[in-house]
Symmetry: D3
Subunit: 224 residues, 6 copies
């Protein structure tokens, strides 16, 4: 039995927006190096950088019917996250669905499958992270679930989790961790900013981070 | 015995041009979802969009001799379609051959192998869809066939078939289907344009396509 | 025991610079089609074109400690060449290390693993050729060697060898061959320039290279 | 903070055993085609067929420390399920750990990474489903979680879920569904046994399943 | 419109049988190194060696309906050759279909997709060459063509062509070439048998094939 | 200019033999986790376990001529190690060459490319570790070097280095390290034997290796 869960709790917009500003690498570090989707998830154009609430959607292989259903659940600020129930590279999503998604306020698409009409999506500036680009169309025959927890590109994603995506890939932050990850991420960024200035001035990271004693202790040898 | 077939029947220019305007996704749908080359065939730069008559060319692995022979058969408006007789990612084609191809009026290259000098090809705006980018050069030792039916990236292609290629990939339309596919593709485009306007205005695809009754019939359940 | 070899002999700057102008495809041909790194080594942005002295660095899987050590050995004009001791796609290098590398005069990074912060690296115009883009961070726990001979993406590279990298990939020229390869590469380029003009004028490569007699001799048949 | 959750509720032994008898294909169908791990998970020897309770274990890339911790939680009838927190093909598990696992009553190993000593594991008849075979060893530096929900080869697995593995791959049955899936699987098997006899007698599946009317209705045409 | 072509001309049984005895490597050489399916087509058990007439079958991705239709067209000595119209690794074929295929006299299955129940297929000794092993089941919704020319794993195959498959892979011999390829293959085998005896006696292939003069002529240098 | 280096210094037979007994995983550990060829190098049959002196051989892509030359340099106890100068999966080596190699006392083949006639090689018990199995034949046109240092599957191998190969993969031990690696490997094996007995008796590796204090120190928490 396929179901659509409604009235999902979404994460606070301000938190989402600020996580998006930090970007994937910082968020991923701040979260203890968890939540990164597999690196085969690549943006169809660059640069691209978004954040939003996960609107999760399962699809049967070669069948995009449930994406239409998922769009019926969209709220402005959502990111559509689609995973096939069996691996598939077909082009599930194109310019028509993107037109609808954009009109509904969706920030972008994360899909562990294929996408098409990428020239038009690029012109529209509707960002997509996908496993493949393929013109292969899909049918509308089989039900699946919308707004349930899904595994997408190796990560568990709940509806309303925060998705952050940029040129480095895609990261999920569970809703309950969002505030804490944001705090740690901001702290990390401040610390990095400081280092950046010193590196730019020519200081070595060996010195900035005081790495030499530990390197010697571990037995590193310099040979002239 | 290797052979070059001459006096190939080409498809009418006007039809080819219009198929090119439709693009790969529409042409592929209009043709009943057939004729799409494997999605590993990617453009070396984007955006790129061409259509033309297939000028087919087999090559031995690591050997680009027959590409030189194929160029001798070129007519303006052709697209060179190259397939190795055994899988190979070497760089069969570079800026010199592209200079010649362009001078001969060839619209672009489809090659289920590697290509090189891609910076120059991009500057020249000579579009290529390939399996790989590789500087690995090739020899000129072994004969193969030109202008015979070939299998390229999983599709059977006859000389004079229509090739359509864009950022979504590459599609072949058999010459005898070209007029019919064009007609269906244009009809499809008109229908899509109508939907596009309604989606852009915020209507849901569930309603535009009247999907709700069938979803209910199949047993989809909405849970609050 | 891990070691850092100092006082590496570098290749003459003028030679390096001119090899870089020739580009990967020409250098690789001039060197007898040797020294090309595996084609999975792709630039994070295009166009990009660099040449420099190899500053070699081993890293443990998921551990970028030795990159910090390697930066301590940098000389202006070096290219950092990093290889993991076991296959790994993690993001070893990001914008902080790039800031340091750039300040130290390093021309770019070749890494048979992953890289992150690619949007920032692109803005900074710090070029990288890598196997993957991944936000996955690394630890600083394990020693390895710096400025020793390494195998990177299938090629043996000695410290001080010349690295040439562009949109076609990456090529290594052993220091002792650099002058000779440069000479052959320049000769090749002159010869190619001549052909380019004739091709652009519409002459066939079959004629420019006098290929027809050998083709006939091998048994090629033209069928009307 | 890394943790080990104790006193996990395990699934009833009798149910587990019978699910194992059904095998992966039947269990997967009975569960509505859900729960199949990615097909890159292959047995190191064939035939092999096991079922058991999932003992889940995260590991850092290139670090097998937590497998030692997980073995401390083993109960007879468990199957060890290991997933790296970032993709890794290293050989995390060999004959020493297998000796321990076997002594502790563990039925086998499911690991989305590499395994080694496969000749000895085969002699010992300790079955493993893995992504890779690799002699590359691992370190013991980094903590991770044991007996928490994990994503392994694309599937969410909770401690105490039922794992069924055979030559076709690996399937997970959530503990709460185990009894129902068993029932449906047995029913399916009875139905299949009946068909098998009719097929073996030469009857066509078209007739046994009364497919001809629907095929005609869909428009299938027979051409002499 | 999907169709099933009947009354296909099959190749003579005696020729098929003898081509099977020669095996894939010899047949492929005898045919001028053509007709080899892509090397991802691997047998599910070894050793396995068959030959037969191609019974060709298209299937939609994730849909095995047409395999049932194809079995209705089987003649003893056929080999079922299945290709999906879009790439798919699902398990299209299992022990039930194998029971039927065996009862109908089919020699084996070639499928550019997945197969399941491989333990049972191995016990039954029903040989399969496939791209994947996967328990993922399929639906029965979409029509496609049976006994039409198809492209399978990169090769064009007509109904009634000869398929030869063994541990090295799969080769197709067009019906019209079968007799000639058999003749050349037998000649090749006789020649190889002679060489085999001389090699086994310790003679070098350099001498048996008189390679030294050409090696010297090409410039090979022996350095002590 | 292609060359064959003669009078290579080989490693002492007794050391080679004993390294072979230790096997790949132990030798690789004893050598500080270095020298493992990429895990795509898999045995064509299992079990298989050999050791020998590397007889190194470069080949052009799709060209096995130099294997014939290399066989002319064989000494009993050698292992033939072949690497293509550009990636290639063709079947470079079959039963004829295996017959010759066996007659010359060669222990097996390591090839970063394809091999064919694997059913016969299995019957002959001539072991091969390769990247692919493919019936695709090769030509004899292009020279390359024999008995020079080569990079094979990511590792630098000198003629006369020790190759150890078994079901886990392939490892190279530089000739100058062979005695030391053997000594360390034997010590490791004795230590492992002791642990094996304790594990088999049901002792936990946590206790045998006294891991609990360090785990607690790192902060591992047990939760009931």
């Amino acid at each position: 039995m396929a179901k659509v869960i409604r009235n999902i709790r979404r994460t606070d917009d301000a938190i989402v927006r600020e996580l998006g500003t930090l970007g994937v690498a910082t968020v991923h570090e701040a979260q203890g190096r968890r939540g990164l989707l597999a690196p085969h998830m690549r943006p169809i154009y660059r640069p691209a950088k978004i954040a939003g609430n996960a609107l999760t959607c399962e699809v049967a292989p070669g069948d995009n019917w449930m994406i239409h259903v998922a769009l019926g659940e969209a709220r402005p600020g959502d990111i559509l996250v689609v995973t096939p129930t069996s691996p598939c590279d077909d082009g599930y999503f194109g310019d028509l669905l993107a037109t609808s998604a954009k009109a509904l306020g969706i920030h972008g698409l994360i899909i562990d499958a294929g996408v098409r009409d990428v020239a038009t999506l690029t012109e529209m500036q509707f960002p997509v992270w996908s496993k493949a680009i393929s013109a292969q169309g899909t049918v509308k025959e089989t039900l699946a679930n919308v707004q349930v927890p899904i595994v997408c590109a190796g990560c568990l994603i709940h509806p309303g989790d925060v998705i952050v995506a940029d040129d480095d890939g895609v990261c999920v932050v569970p809703a309950e961790n969002a505030a804490m990850v944001l705090e740690k991420g901001c702290a990390r960024e401040r610390m990095e900013e400081e280092k950046r200035l010193r590196y730019a001035a020519g200081e070595l990271s060996l010195d900035v981070n005081n790495m030499r004693p530990k390197l010697m202790e571990e037995g590193l040898v310099y040979v002239d």
